[in-house]
C-alpha cells in the first residue's frame, strides 16, 4: 500500500525541479553571499585591536545578539563567519524551503493544477513526496555550494562545512514543518503563515535566550538553538545536527499521516456557511477585509516584539555589566548608561521598522495578486475610480505598519520607562514614531512598483532587502556613510541626543511622496493585467 501511495513520484519530481528550480536558486545564492562575504573580515577589521573593538561594540548591543545570535569568537575570520551567517543563513534556507513545499502542495491544490495531476497515474502521497524530496536535496545543494564557495574564498574546511551544514539541517527541519503546515491550513496562504510564524517565533526566541543568558535547557528546547550550539570555529560540534535529522524524520512522518487522512483540497479547518448579505460595501471595506487576517496576526507579532524588546531594554545595563572594556568606558564617563540604552533602542526600533515594512509590502503585492486573479476587474468596471481603489490599499499599506510601530513602541516605552535605565516613556515612543517615516519610504517603493512596473513585482521587496542589508548588516562591513545613507533608517535621528537632525526625515519623506506619485500615476494609466 505504501508503494502505491507514492506511485508517480519520480516524473513529478522531475517536473517540479524544472518548474521550481529557478525559484529555489536565489535562496542558495543568498546564503552563499552571506557566508562567503564574511571572508572579507581581514580587510575590514585587519588588526586585533580593530577586532576587539568590534567585539566590544557587538557585545554592547543586545539587538545584535537577537539577529545574529551570540558571538563566541570574533578574533578569527571563521568565528566571524559563523557569528554572522549561522542564524541568518538558517533563516534564509528555511524560508526558501517553506515557500517551495507550500508551492508544490497547497498552492497547486488552490490553483487546480493538482487536480489534473491527481487524476493521472499517481499515488495520493506522491505530490507531498516529490515536494519533500526536492527540498531535502535542495538543502544539501545549498549547504555544499555555500560551504565550498566559502572555503574557496579562504574559509577553514571544518568550521565552514559545519556552518554550511547547519543551514542544510535548518532547511531540513523546516521542510518537515512546512510539510505539516501544508496539511493543516486549507489554503496556501494559511499554510505559509503557519510555517513562517513557527520559524519567526523560534528565531526570536533563540536570540532572546542568548541575549539574556538564559539557562541551558531553554536553549536546548529550541531546535534553532541546536544549530547555534554546534559553535563552528569554536567547538566544532557536529552531533547536534543528528537531533535535527531526527526531528525532520518525525515531522515528515506526522505530515504523511495527516496527508493520508485528509481529503483533497481540505484542511484541518472546514469552511462553514457565511452570511447571505454583505456589509462591506466600499473599496475601503474590501481592502480592510482582505487584509484582516494578516493584520490580526501581525498585531499579535508586534505586541510580542514590543514585550520582548522592551524587557531587553530594561536589562541592557545588566547584560553589559560583564563586559570589562565597557565597564572602563562607563567608569571614565566616556559613555553613560542612558546613551547605551538609547543606542540600543535606535537599533532595535530600526529592526522593528524593517519588520513592520514587510506587511506593508505584502498588502501592495496583494493588490497585484488580486489583479492577476481577475478580482480587480469586476471592481474597476463598477463606478469605482482606479485611484480610489489604489488609495484604499495604500492607506492600509502605510497605516498598518505605523500602528504596529506604535504598538511595539508603546510597550517598549512602558517597560523601559518604568525600569529607571535613563530613558523616559516619551523618549522611546518618540523614537518609535520617528522611525515610521523610514518605514513609509520602504513601503512607498512597493506602491511605485505595483502601480507603475507590476511585471517586476518582486522589486517591491527591494526596499526591505536594502534597508536590512545596509542598516543591520552594513555596520559589520564597516561601510561608508554615503552607502549606509541609502537606507532610509540611517536618517532616523536619535531623539535623545541633543543635536538630533530632524531634516533627514523630511528628505526621506520627499522620496516617499515621489514614490507614491509614481505609483498612483502608473496605476491610473496602465492597462490592467489580462490573461
Amino acid at each position: 500500500m505504501a508503494g502505491t501511495a507514492i506511485t508517480g513520484t519520480p516524473p513529478l519530481l522531475q517536473a517540479e525541479v524544472r518548474h521550481d528550480g529557478r525559484l529555489l536558486a536565489p535562496w542558495a545564492l543568498l546564503t552563499t553571499l552571506l557566508a562567503s562575504s564574511s571572508m572579507l573580515y581581514p580587510l575590514i577589521f585587519p588588526t586585533d585591536e580593530d577586532r576587539s573593538a568590534f567585539a566590544a561594540a557587538v557585545g554592547s548591543n543586545p539587538a545584535m545578539a537577537i539577529i545574529f545570535g551570540p558571538a563566541f569568537d570574533l578574533s578569527t575570520t571563521d568565528g566571524f563567519a559563523a557569528w554572522r551567517s549561522l542564524a541568518l543563513g538558517g533563516l534564509i534556507a528555511a524560508l526558501g524551503v517553506i515557500f517551495a513545499v507550500t508551492r508544490a502542495t497547497r498552492a497547486q491544490e488552490d490553483s487546480g493544477q493538482a487536480e489534473l495531476l491527481a487524476s493521472g497515474v499517481m499515488g495520493r502521497a506522491a505530490r507531498l513526496m516529490a515536494a519533500v524530496w526536492m527540498c531535502l536535496v535542495f538543502a544539501i545543494v545549498l549547504g555544499l555550494v555555500t560551504g565550498l564557495v566559502t572555503v574557496a574564498f579562504g574559509g577553514g574546511w571544518n568550521a565552514t562545512m559545519l556552518l554550511a551544514a547547519t543551514m542544510t539541517a535548518t532547511a531540513w527541519m523546516f521542510t518537515g514543518v512546512a510539510a505539516v503546515t501544508a496539511q493543516l491550513g486549507s489554503d496556501a496562504r494559511t499554510a505559509n503563515s503557519l510555517a513562517v510564524a513557527t520559524l519567526g517565533v523560534l528565531f526570536i526566541a533563540r536570540g532572546v535566550t542568548y541575549a539574556l543568558d538564559a539557562p541551558d535547557w531553554v536553549i536546548w528546547i529550541n531546535p534553532l538553538g541546536w544549530m547555534t550550539e554546534t559553535k563552528p570555529a569554536v567547538d566544532d560540534d557536529w552531533w547536534p545536527l543528528l537531533a535535527a535529522v531526527a526531528l525532520t524524520v518525525a515531522l515528515l512522518v506526522v505530515a504523511f499521516v495527516l496527508q493520508a487522512r485528509r481529503e483533497f483540497g481540505a484542511g484541518a479547518i472546514a469552511p462553514r456557511p457565511g452570511p447571505a448579505r454583505g456589509r462591506d460595501r466600499s473599496t475601503w471595506r474590501l481592502a480592510l477585509r482582505l487584509n484582516r487576517g494578516p493584520m490580526l496576526s501581525w498585531t499579535i507579532a508586534f505586541i510580542a516584539l514590543g514585550l520582548v524588546f522592551g524587557y531587553l531594554a530594561t536589562s541592557v545595563t545588566d547584560i553589559l555589566g560583564g563586559d570589562a572594556a565597557l565597564q572602563q568606558m562607563l567608569a571614565a564617563g566616556a559613555v553613560t548608561d542612558a546613551e547605551l540604552v538609547s543606542a540600543f533602542l535606535v537599533t532595535i526600533l530600526s529592526l522593528v521598522g524593517i519588520i513592520a515594512s514587510i506587511p506593508g509590502v505584502q498588502t501592495m503585492l496583494k493588490v497585484r495578486a488580486e489583479e492577476l486573479d481577475d478580482r480587480l476587474e469586476p471592481i474597476i468596471v463598477t463606478a469605482t475610480a482606479r485611484p480610489r481603489y489604489y488609495a484604499s490599499n495604500v492607506l492600509i499599506a502605510l497605516g498598518a505598519p505605523a500602528v504596529y510601530m506604535l504598538v511595539a513602541g508603546t510597550l517598549m516605552a512602558a517597560l523601559a520607562g518604568a525600569a529607571d535605565v535613563g530613558v523616559t516613556f516619551g523618549d522611546v515612543l518618540l523614537q518609535a514614531a520617528a522611525t515610521v517615516p523610514a518605514v513609509w519610504t520602504v513601503v512607498a517603493l512597493s506602491v511605485a512598483v505595483v502601480g507603475a512596473r507590476p511585471h517586476v513585482a518582486l522589486a517591491a521587496w527591494a526596499g526591505v532587502l536594502v534597508s536590512f542589508a545596509l542598516t543591520i548588516l552594513g555596520p559589520t562591513f564597516n561601510l561608508w556613510d554615503w552607502v549606509l545613507a541609502i537606507s532610509p533608517y540611517w536618517h532616523v535621528p536619535n531623539v535623545t541626543s541633543a543635536d538630533a537632525d530632524w531634516w533627514g526625515l523630511v528628505w526621506i519623506s520627499l522620496v516617499t511622496l515621489f514614490f507614491l506619485m509614481v505609483g498612483f500615476a502608473g496605476f491610473r494609466r496602465r492597462d490592467l493585467a489580462t490573461q
Partner: protein
C-alpha cells in the same frame, strides 16, 4: 441613412500587445434597446474589444464611444450606467456569494433589492457559500445576479453562460429578455448558437482582429446556402441539378445545397422527378459560423 441612436460606437479601433496586433481596426455599432451578438473564434479579439469598452485597456488607435462617453477618461460616470459579466468569474475565496453581490452592487451605486432576491431564487443560487466553494457555473451565477440586479442602460456580457447547465441557460435567456424589455441594451459575446439566435437583434463577427460581417441574422444568411435532402421516384438527370452544388447522390437519395434566393427555382426543376421525401434546411447560424470562421472566409466576406 439617418443618425442612429448608438450606445456603443467603435471606429477603426486598434490595440497591440508588443508586436502582436490583437485588434486591427474594429468597427462596431450597437443600437439602443437592442441585443447585439458579438461572435468570433477564440483569440479573435472579442475580449480585448470588450476590455477597451470597459476602460480596462486603452486602445492604441481609432475611437470608441460608450453611451456617448470615452471609456478611458469618463470611467466612473460611464460605469454607473453599465454592468459587466466576464466569462471567467473569479471570486474572493473567503467571501460569500451574497456578500460579493452586495459589494459589487454597492460599488455600482446600489441594486434593486426585489430583483436581487428574485434572481437568486430563479438561478437557484446559495448565497451563503464562500467563493472557494462555488463551482464554475455557480461563480458565474454570482456575477450574473450582481450585474442584472442593478438598473443599468447597457449590459456587456462576455461569454456569460459558458459554465451554466441548460436549465440555467434558459433562465439566463429569459432574464436578458426582461432586461431588454426594460429598455437596456446588451452586447453579448457567446459561442452558444441558440442563445445568440434567440436573443440577438443584430450580429457582428470578428476574426483576427477585424469585423468580417455585421447585420441582422437574416442579412447574414443572405449569402449563405440552404441544404436540401430529397428522395425521388425516378433518377434525376444532371441537367436538372444545374442550380445545386455540393451534390451527393446515393441511388434515388440526394443531398445538395442551393443559394437561399434560388430555392424556388431548384424545386421547380426537381419536382418532375417525383419527390417522395423532402427536407429543406435554411442556413443555420452554426453553418454560418463555420463558414465565416474558416481562414479562407476573407474573400467571400468582402
Amino acid at each position: 441613412m439617418g443618425e442612429i441612436d448608438a450606445v456603443i460606437r467603435v471606429e477603426g479601433l486598434t490595440k497591440s500587445y508588443g508586436r502582436f496586433q490583437a485588434l486591427k481596426g474594429v468597427d462596431l455599432v450597437v443600437e439602443r434597446g437592442q441585443v447585439h451578438g458579438f461572435l468570433g473564434p477564440n483569440g479573435a479579439g472579442k475580449s480585448t474589444t470588450i476590455r477597451v469598452l470597459l476602460g480596462l485597456l486603452r486602445g492604441d488607435g481609432g475611437t470608441a464611444t460608450v453611451l456617448g462617453m470615452d471609456p478611458w477618461h469618463d470611467v466612473v460616470d460611464l460605469h454607473r450606467r453599465i454592468a459587466y459579466v466576464p466569462g471567467d468569474v473569479s471570486l474572493w475565496p473567503g467571501m460569500t456569494g451574497g456578500e460579493a453581490i452586495d459589494l459589487l452592487g454597492s460599488l455600482r451605486g446600489g441594486l434593486d433589492e426585489a430583483r436581487r432576491a428574485e434572481l437568486i431564487e430563479r438561478f437557484e443560487l446559495d448565497p451563503t457559500k464562500r467563493g472557494r466553494q462555488y463551482s464554475k457555473g455557480n461563480r458565474q451565477k454570482v456575477a450574473i445576479v450582481a450585474a442584472l440586479a442593478s438598473d443599468v442602460e447597457l449590459l456587456i456580457l462576455d461569454e456569460p453562460t459558458s459554465g451554466l447547465d441548460p436549465l440555467m441557460e434558459n433562465v439566463f435567456q429569459e432574464v436578458v429578455g426582461e432586461a431588454k424589455a426594460r429598455g437596456a441594451s446588451v452586447l453579448l459575446s457567446s459561442h452558444i448558437m441558440t442563445e445568440v439566435e434567440s436573443l440577438a437583434d443584430r450580429l457582428s463577427i470578428i476574426r483576427q482582429g477585424e469585423i468580417v460581417q455585421t447585420g441582422t441574422l437574416a442579412d447574414l444568411q443572405q449569402g449563405s446556402r440552404t441544404t436540401i435532402h430529397a428522395t425521388f421516384a425516378r433518377p434525376v438527370p444532371d441537367a436538372a441539378l444545374a442550380e445545386l452544388s455540393d451534390i451527393h447522390v446515393d441511388g434515388l437519395r440526394m443531398t445538395a445545397t442551393v443559394d437561399a434566393s434560388r430555392v424556388g427555382d431548384a424545386m421547380a426543376q426537381l419536382t418532375p422527378f417525383g419527390i417522395t421525401a423532402l427536407t429543406v434546411e435554411p442556413p443555420s447560424l452554426e453553418s454560418l459560423f463555420l463558414r465565416l470562421y474558416e481562414p479562407d472566409a476573407d474573400e467571400r466576406a468582402s
